[in-house]
Symmetry: C2
Subunit: 260 residues, 2 copies
């Protein structure tokens, strides 16, 4: 990716490049995500560098891991039938409930739920878009941090490069319209950056200023990825975020969540 040094016109204090990775085929169960990414990179003539961060849409990770369910195979129980209301598919609601530890809000057939990972999101992450066949849905990876770590490890083995990996999904938020891409799994990067104790130019100490940089990286990558699964991977270059954070660090405990 171009660096500021290659362009004498530009002397920014810092610069990021975010590239969409073309050439990833539709993913199916058992596919080797690291291999598909390295093939895509090779086709683009792009070499990974230490410190690059690969941002990978959850959907392809889930598909490769076999987290796809055919609705025909689901037998909904009474609570799923109730939550489905008139317009929902009770089989889909059954899957949402089985992926949830708690229903946070519901307005049939819409459900906001907390997943086993601790994420609060629409439909507990159960999603029909970009599913491999019409009557199937895709679930979140069972352990997205582990998924990210596996992909990172494979890339290290095959290229020698230490990169960061973030697995993402698009979540809604309270108070604001629209979804944004967030980190649900990560490996090899700092997830939160704590500015506490740093001084502003006036000497005022910054208190409890913890920035969710993994979510900001996920959001940045979405701008080149889009929503139709044709570009499920982006490469972010120019960050200095090597570290050991887990996306679980982004899950807030109820007693600390004043926004709840």
């Amino acid at each position: 990716m171009p660096s500021p040094a290659q362009n004498p016109q530009l002397k920014p204090a810092a610069e990021l490049s975010i590239a969409a990775l073309a050439g990833i085929p539709l993913v199916k169960e058992g596919d080797d995500i690291a291999g598909l990414i390295l093939n895509g990179l090779a086709a683009s003539g792009l070499l990974l560098r230490r410190g690059d961060v690969l941002v990978i849409a959850q959907k392809i990770v889930s598909k490769a891991e076999g987290r796809v369910v055919r609705l025909a195979d689901v037998d909904p129980a009474r609570d799923a039938i109730e939550l489905a209301g008139r317009d929902g598919d009770p089989r889909r609601l059954e899957l949402i409930l089985s992926e949830s530890t708690r229903v946070v809000r519901s307005r049939p057939p819409l459900v906001i739920a907390e997943t086993a990972h601790g994420f609060v999101c629409a439909s507990a992450g159960v999603d029909a878009s970009n599913a491999p066949e019409p009557d199937s849905v895709v679930l979140l990876p069972e352990d997205p941090d582990a998924s990210a770590a596996r992909i990172r490890h494979e890339i290290r083995l095959r290229t020698g490069q230490r990169v960061g990996v973030i697995v993402t999904d698009t979540f809604g938020r309270a108070w604001r319209v629209g979804i944004t891409n967030v980190a649900i799994g990560s490996a090899g990067i700092e997830v939160l950056r704590d500015y506490s104790g740093q001084l502003d130019p006036a000497g005022y100490e910054l208190h409890s200023t913890v920035v969710a940089i993994a979510d900001e990286i996920a959001a940045a990558a979405e701008l080149v990825m889009g929503k139709t699964d044709r570009i499920p991977v982006a490469i972010v270059r120019g960050l200095a975020v090597e570290g050991h954070g887990s996306a679980k660090d982004l899950v807030i405990s109820p007693e600390h969540d004043l926004f709840r």
Copy 2:
């Protein structure tokens, strides 16, 4: 900024560059933000292009607009004294209440409030960090969309270029740890991108998939801006987001907010 064409190694499907703008001095009331940005760009040898998006931290906009209050000038009422608890400054709480239309949550001295703009955030955006003097605080701009539009207009007048402008602040979120940068004002850009009706590769129609791209652009820019006010501006190049959205479009109505 470098473009993919300048680097034959890279053929991504899409590429963004995000550059921190160095050389913006500490801002004071009456300063001309557009002029300071153009000076910073000139010092970096950088020319704006149509379609570039300038991302500007709220703090410098507020300071230029005189949205700074000395705590010594504030006379707290009883409700502010109560909300301050033992550890808070009642004068600061008085300002938070005067900036709020509604207190959403409080645990003295912490307050989550809804502002007159409709934003839900900590302390109604009242912030002591990066304030111009030790005993002062900075309020959000009164109309951040108008602030963005003014800066955009000035840049068009002086350079002939149509750019997008986003004014940002870092907000906390429900359910997730840490703050992320979001759009509180915008001009000349698409704020929400609606993928409804588009088909995924399997022909499945995407429903109610509205991405808050202005917030994603804000988040992306924060990665090069940091929190100490030394880099309050970033330039994002490579987006195709020209449009007419308002950051008010990001404020959800209570009846639509299932996450509330």
